[in-house]
Symmetry: C2
Subunit: 306 residues, 2 copies
Amino acid sequence: MNNKYDVVIIGGGPAGLTAGIYTSRDNLKSLIIEKGIIGGNMNNAEIIDNYPGFPEGVNGPELANLMHRQAKRYGLETIAAEVIAIKDLGNKKLLQTSDGDIIARAVIIAGGSEKLKLSIPGEKEFTGRGVSYCTTCDAFFFRNKNVVVVGGGNSAIYEAMHLTKFASKIYIIHRRNQLRATAILQERARAETKIKFILDTIVKEIQGKDFVQKLVLENVKTGKKSTLEVDGVFISIGLKPNTDFVKDLLSLDKQGHIITDENMNTETAGILAAGDIRSGAIRQITTAAGDGTIAAIEAKRFIDDQ
Amino acid sequence: MNNKYDVVIIGGGPAGLTAGIYTSRDNLKSLIIEKGIIGGNMNNAEIIDNYPGFPEGVNGPELANLMHRQAKRYGLETIAAEVIAIKDLGNKKLLQTSDGDIIARAVIIAGGSEKLKLSIPGEKEFTGRGVSYCTTCDAFFFRNKNVVVVGGGNSAIYEAMHLTKFASKIYIIHRRNQLRATAILQERARAETKIKFILDTIVKEIQGKDFVQKLVLENVKTGKKSTLEVDGVFISIGLKPNTDFVKDLLSLDKQGHIITDENMNTETAGILAAGDIRSGAIRQITTAAGDGTIAAIEAKRFIDDQ
């Protein structure tokens, strides 16, 4: 059984695929382990406008496919499996997966970070059609439209502030009567005439035809229901990185993201992290690709030094 | 005269173009000042194989053009000029250029870093056709070929070590009889049977037909000339970033690269640096694009905070 690789990459999003292009092209025997679909969060984007090189934009699954073909051209292998645990054996790493054990000389963890979902009717159906988890990616599509930001933390307020450059009206909907965001950010948001707060309120359902048209809201104190007509919903209620399987091996931040140095090294030599799973990541395809490149070069350096 | 911008980007390589895509798309009035050709060092690459999204590779000037069209789509402006000095006026920056003064709220310096040239006959002519300044980019094209690395520092040795995975034979040519590289690196290189050292020697000329075929060498002690048949020449004699115009304003490292934090901030608030001009940059298009993205997001944050 051939289960030995120079580099094993966990996760097949843009960070993992870029790392795979670099390590394979460097003649390192490389494997991506992906439990879902190759491409990661790119698969959720109908159109990606800000990845340089595609002036008319590019469909997310299409960009994922282009990157994957590129990596395969240099010999990258891919398997569908879930990594259960990593054991550090010094100059070798043992990966226990749902498909058996795999040995790697270096490991790049690029499993991404999911935005938390509301898990309400219509959310999944309208994702990419009015429902978004990223204003930097999608605010541009909501010029002169009415949108909602769901959430009460710093990120939610930043997203709302960002949207003021594009949208006509922004409603911040939060389930409590106090925001978690810092006072100065709240103050700044309250000074924006375009921003309106709807507190003590949850979104029960997202409705529409081809695109989002309205939300069903419920006041959590009175139980009273209402509807709100909007063109878009930005959901900003937190992140969930896929790091449970390394929580005993690596240092994680409060949200569970992996802490690395600027060269993508974790505390464990030969185990690197790249992309959205890293603490402090910017969550863009460009930065994921940059991280993947650096992690690949560092993985090669680690292997060469053994 | 309309010479006021939200963001002025100095340099139109991949870092600058990516920053321009992001700032323009964020509704910030943005300008790239480029003294040469838009695209920077990408213009020297006949084929770029490792920028994710192009499985068959992409011609360098073509990728530059795609990125430029994308940025222009969101309103990015470009002028051909040279920046002579930047003056920090706090929440505004004054740029003195060969085309007059320009005011910016934030500045992103992305002027790249040139690899030093040998400045010998044939070098320019065969660049991209056997002459290269980047093994990570081009080693793959020299499988089972004979190549030369010119230089004696750590980078030259790293390039030679990297080439052992591809080339049949690697000659390291250095003009002195001692390398500058650290002892441990030299030791490792000497242990490689594929690597041969030619010391006290300079390359006088690069000759060939369509591609590099041979070098004219001269021993600097004896003055004796000789020829060496090779398929490729990697030149690794140092870097020259374009930072003279900011040397009194910003902290530079020994080579002259701009020192930033991991968010691309220089010591001067509102002036950022991205790509190869940064100290410690990896010099890949992916990492330049990542840097450009982060610098754009930070520039926006700086402007919003004023």
